[in-house]
Symmetry: C2
Subunit: 377 residues, 2 copies
């Protein structure tokens, strides 16, 4: 089977849609949230636990795997799926975002990016071709074009030049990438917060005819309303018969608003990072478990939640684990937060099917509030 | 059901024996190795994972639970089993060993021990009665008398006085402990490395008629042969119809030698602590996974092992996890090491049944070697 997107239903209320993505490692129901397994492991979790919480696809990071253990080693192991024992779909990013985040440790030219490893100070060069080579070696089902994610805020001139280079790089990625039977290459729309540039970027990438498209350069510090505005005018420019992926978004409010604007896929380290800090997403809002008020609270984190953590353990016990830095605490929190978002997306899919997503959103917000104004990019 | 020990078979070759311990939370086949869950969690593991590796009983620490989260809180939660969701037997130590390990932070009198918390410097007092009260609150199936574990080496005079006080304290524990239907109180034989004192201690404790006996004060830095010698003359003094527990022992060689001398139960943090440092017990000896030679080794940690870790992951992947400090690494190592010792004890039980324990030991040593000369007390 080769990669395919099937549009199942468009909402009558908004731009939300139900779909299915087909890959060689299985199907993905969209809209979907993708847990992040930066270094070939979703932190604290086994693959079986990810299956138990119904994760359908995970994301892993090209930059980190390139540096350690090395894409050649993972290739020798039989690819990333086999290396980490995850047999469902994997999406890898291009390494671009991490490389650009290195700030003055990197230097951009038309050819690619030279950078200094954050681990050992060694020098490296990643070009569009190199990013494709690495991702080909990793063997992920969905791979991303090597782009530049311009910082926020940036001038129109800067973003224009960066966006145009991103298009040229996307073309080079497409030219280099040969394993199209097994790996779907997505283009990434850039253009910062400028409507004309977003439109131009979308047009140029759509002309290159990728099997899927991401919206990059959002959730990078801009106000939420600005992100929503960009999605409002960008997403409708993307083909209906291709999946649309919003990069780096994972708070419940961002997910709702993105889906309403036509996004099919999203990823973020937010739920797993929050978990390791003892912060839980619940149907009544955010819980910081180390808070003294939970010391003798023998009720579950979220009495409405069906996850392993909430079915078995009390706040008092989980608080004890976090106070003692016990690894089981981070495990239980990760299971809960990922389950929470995956389950939220499942309910979002049901509400799209039933054309009551907006009502579901209102009810959710009433209990939950907006605890975060952003992702963590 | 109340606590009971059933002697099933005595070896024809040595003092090893097969037995069964009955508690309100289930049966324990002996000889048995008990994983340690110091702070109400066997580090990195869920209760279900412990069941999967066939752990039949775990140990938890009175001293740590008394300080945090507090035995009153655990009592409110419905006891330790319910608090940590482990429904099989639990043994708690008396707190004595940890308190005495505090060195100059504690002061011993006939009444009990005054000490300063290692966490916040607060002052505390634990007497035999207090240790019983704490363990009664915890609700563990087997509780230990409050003893003094004399340091090694200590003079005959010191050990004699300490041993005699331990007997007086054991009697006070017995007098205070009322919940005998649900919690079996074990006496602890002390006497250092002095044969006359060990014999005297054993006699005095046997006179007090406890449902089980521990041998304490071993694996505290003495040469292995000295420990074996002490076991040689101490264990035969203990009643045949009661279980015998050697405290703080968990290396394969110590376990073999203890069982051969008539020990039924043992515990140690060794397998779990080694695991978190990336050290694996295998049928061919010890593996330190961070070693560079495993970088591209795509075979399992121990090809003969049936544990989850060895059935699913390569050395190269586990090494990557440890190099990146990923929590999954510590999890996979803990599963393996505990499985290794629990499975070893299972095979030891089979070999007692078949009267070929000594041959099994020789074959095991031939492949494994003696990688450690001691426990970790």
């Amino acid at each position: 089977m080769t990669f395919k997107y099937e549009l199942i239903k468009e909402s009558k209320e908004c731009n939300a849609r139900l779909g299915k993505v087909y890959t060689n490692h299985g199907e993905i129901e969209t809209p979907i949230f993708m847990p992040v397994g930066t270094k070939a492991t979703v932190k604290t979790m086994t693959p079986e636990e990810l299956e138990n919480i119904e994760a359908q696809i995970i994301l892993s990071n090209t930059y980190h795997l390139y540096l350690r253990p090395g894409h050649d080693l993972i290739n020798e192991a039989g690819g990333l799926h086999k290396f980490m024992k995850w047999n469902k779909p994997i999406l890898t990013d291009s390494g671009g975002f991490q490389v650009f985040s290195l700030g003055n440790l990197r230097n951009i030219t038309e050819e690619g990016v030279t950078f200094t490893s954050h681990i050992d100070g060694s020098k490296h060069f990643i070009s569009p071709e190199k990013s494709m080579e690495i991702q080909n070696y990793l063997g992920s089902d969905i791979i991303m074009a090597f782009d530049e994610c311009a910082p926020y805020p940036s001038s129109w001139d800067y973003v224009k030049a960066s966006m145009e280079r991103t298009t040229r790089w996307a073309k080079r990625c497409k030219d280099y990438h040969k394993n199209i039977e097994n790996q779907a290459l997505f283009g990434i729309v850039q253009g910062g917060m400028y409507e004309d540039l977003r439109k131009e970027s979308a047009k140029q990438l759509v002309d290159l005819d990728f099997p899927g498209y991401a919206v990059g350069g959002l959730s990078v510090g801009e106000p939420p309303d600005l992100m929503y505005e960009v999605l409002d005018y960008t997403v409708p420019l993307l083909p209906k018969n291709k999946p649309r992926y919003l990069m780096g978004v994972g708070s419940p409010d961002y997910l709702f608003e993105a889906v309403i604007r036509g996004i099919d896929m999203a990823d973020c380290v937010l739920p797993t990072r929050m978990a390791r800090n003892g912060a839980f997403m619940t149907s009544k809002g955010r819980i910081t478990i180390k808070n003294a008020k939970y010391k003798r609270d023998f009720t579950p984190i979220d009495p409405q939640c069906k996850c392993y953590t909430c079915q078995n353990y009390s706040k008092a016990y989980i608080r004890h684990l976090f106070k003692e830095n016990e690894i089981l605490g981070a495990r239980l929190a990760t299971i809960h937060n990922l389950f929470f978002l995956i389950n939220l997306m499942k309910n979002i899919r049901i509400s799209i099917k039933e054309d009551n997503l907006l009502k579901f959103k209102d009810e959710f917000y009433k209990e939950y509030g907006y605890y975060t104004k952003g992702g963590v990019n």
